[in-house]
Subunit: 332 residues, 2 copies
């Protein structure tokens, strides 16, 4: 810690005040060797994600509050991608000497806000020193027995659908890094929001599951890379109608202020946390209607699952092989 | 990664081969957005721990295999300290450029070995680039409803007991850092083993719970610091009989080779992962007998819970205030 050296026990005491004392099903919350909770009624969904300074976030660009919020949301999104509901979160922090206590408490505040938003209880965690700031969040959720939607269930002929619009998160990061004055515009703020305060599609995931989705995942590393993984798990291919890919409208404005290729951002930018699913052809309209009614969220048909290959089709009908580029966690 | 640049998907494929395909209660293992498991029958015990290079481990001293093993064991120990059983583990890795693929696969091998040893299933995780190597493990376990042993249940008059012997882990670290030739001796190897391959007391924790333990935790940060936390949670004090503290016998040998104070290591060294519990005075003998019979593990009475204060008593009966020193996670 910086000038204001504070011990673990003191900081834990402050954090425990920020955290909820309990919540539905919480038997033992933060402060003991482990948390104790009532298990979800259905099957348990378990997921974990690590955010590392300089790789996943830049302290100069993100606020502690947004960072804490996002660290929870990316995990909630993984539960959503199974068709599940999040219940409990655990946090491990590695704090560098740059993290003063107020920064840590702010970050916990952001986590708490995200937990309140998605109705999770933050039940415990762990504080450590580290040479670089690290945030590890794990979430336990629930999905009805036998109802989890995996990546491996897509079948040739299934339509490929995606919620919302793509590319806004990576566009927001571009804009933030550019320092361009357009950050204060309405579309600029919307792009920044997409990057720093992403939304997890929990209800949408459950609705897609109920609508007969055969496979599902969240778009965290870019549509093409994530779709190639879904295809690989399902032992199939994909034909993507490039003109149908829902490019975030704000990117057309961004292009005027900061050089970028909106379609490329939508295809490979990553961190959108929209849901990518496959559904039988006859189920697309019903799913789209429900998502619109319940959540006001668009569902776009971007192509179909094939026996093999990974190709894009342009408006003229010409096909070209697609390269599954996107965020490689080990390249950064 | 170093010379042998490898992408995330390739490394994930290798790791999935190292991991078990399933295990009891595993519905969806590694490779999807989240794992899906049958929830434990009792209450769920949730815990997480982060190991950071340069803080919790030194790549020059520890093998990848030992490191992976220990990352799992420290979490299992937290579950043991509640009187629970571990079931499922999740892993997040932050890999630095020093971590070549064989190192990562070896580390997963160590995790797998620990999971086999304690009958957990390693159900998922996450790989990331990082400027420093980071290992985050979360464990989901089980404890019978209403039977978790917290830190807060100690009452004045309860005896303070500890399993096994203390100080061996920090003695092992001292020895490893010294480079002393005594590392190859039988006692030297035993100290190194205590540090690099710690044991979690799962059966012992359950036995202490059944024997009426009123409070329990694991000794991860040092007996005095951990006991002071237990006292603080229980709103009580402690009187510790210093001559009764079970100092690891190997430390008397270590002292001849490397300057150290065995009692100080036992009181404040940390990372022993023995269990510290409080039990009603009449229950000590029964608990000790069961631990001896079932596990061949000693249980030592080291003092009693008082109304307030935190004092040590020496053999002459003289009292002195104890300073709860130990491992401060934020000082390192």
């Amino acid at each position: 810690m910086g000038g204001e050296r504070i011990g673990e026990d003191e900081l834990v005491a402050v954090i425990r005040k920020v955290l909820s004392g309990g919540g539905p099903g919480v038997v033992v919350g933060p402060g003991d060797d482990a948390a104790v909770v009532d298990p979800p009624r259905g099957a348990s969904v378990l997921t974990t994600d690590l955010l590392v300074e300089g790789v996943h976030f830049d302290r100069a660009l993100t606020s502690a509050r947004d960072l804490g919020h996002k660290a929870v949301v990316v995990n909630v999104s993984d539960v959503a991608a199974m068709g599940g509901s999040p219940w409990y979160a655990l946090v491990s922090l590695g704090l560098s000497e740059h993290d003063d206590p107020s920064w840590v408490v702010e970050m916990y505040g952001g986590m708490r806000a995200a937990c309140d938003e998605y109705a999770l209880s933050l039940v415990g965690g762990d504080l450590n020193r580290s040479s670089v700031s690290v945030i590890s969040v794990s979430v336990v959720g629930e999905v009805a027995q036998g109802r989890a939607i995996l990546r491996s269930g897509a079948r040739p002929g299934d339509r490929i659908v995606v919620t919302g619009a793509l590319g806004a998160s990576s566009g927001g990061l571009l804009l933030a890094r550019s320092g361009n004055a357009a950050m204060t515009s309405e579309w600029g703020r919307s792009l920044l929001e997409a990057h720093f305060r992403p939304v997890a599609r929990v209800g949408e995931g459950q609705t897609l599951a109920q609508s007969g989705a055969t496979a599902m995942m969240d778009v965290s590393d870019g549509l093409l890379l994530d779709l190639s993984r879904l295809c690989s798990e399902s032992a199939g291919g994909a034909r993507v109608a490039l003109a149908n890919v829902p490019v975030a409208a704000e990117l057309l404005e961004l292009r005027e202020a900061v050089p970028c290729d909106p379609l490329e951002l939508a295809l490979s930018g990553g961190e959108d946390y929209e849901l990518l699913a496959t559904v039988p052809a006859g189920a697309v309209d019903g799913a789209r209607e429900k998502l619109g009614e319940r959540f006001g969220v668009a569902l776009t048909d971007v192509g179909e699952i094939t026996e093999y290959g990974f190709v894009g089709v342009d408006e003229s009908g010409a096909e070209r092989p697609l390269e599954p580029r996107g965020w490689d966690h080990l390249a950064g």
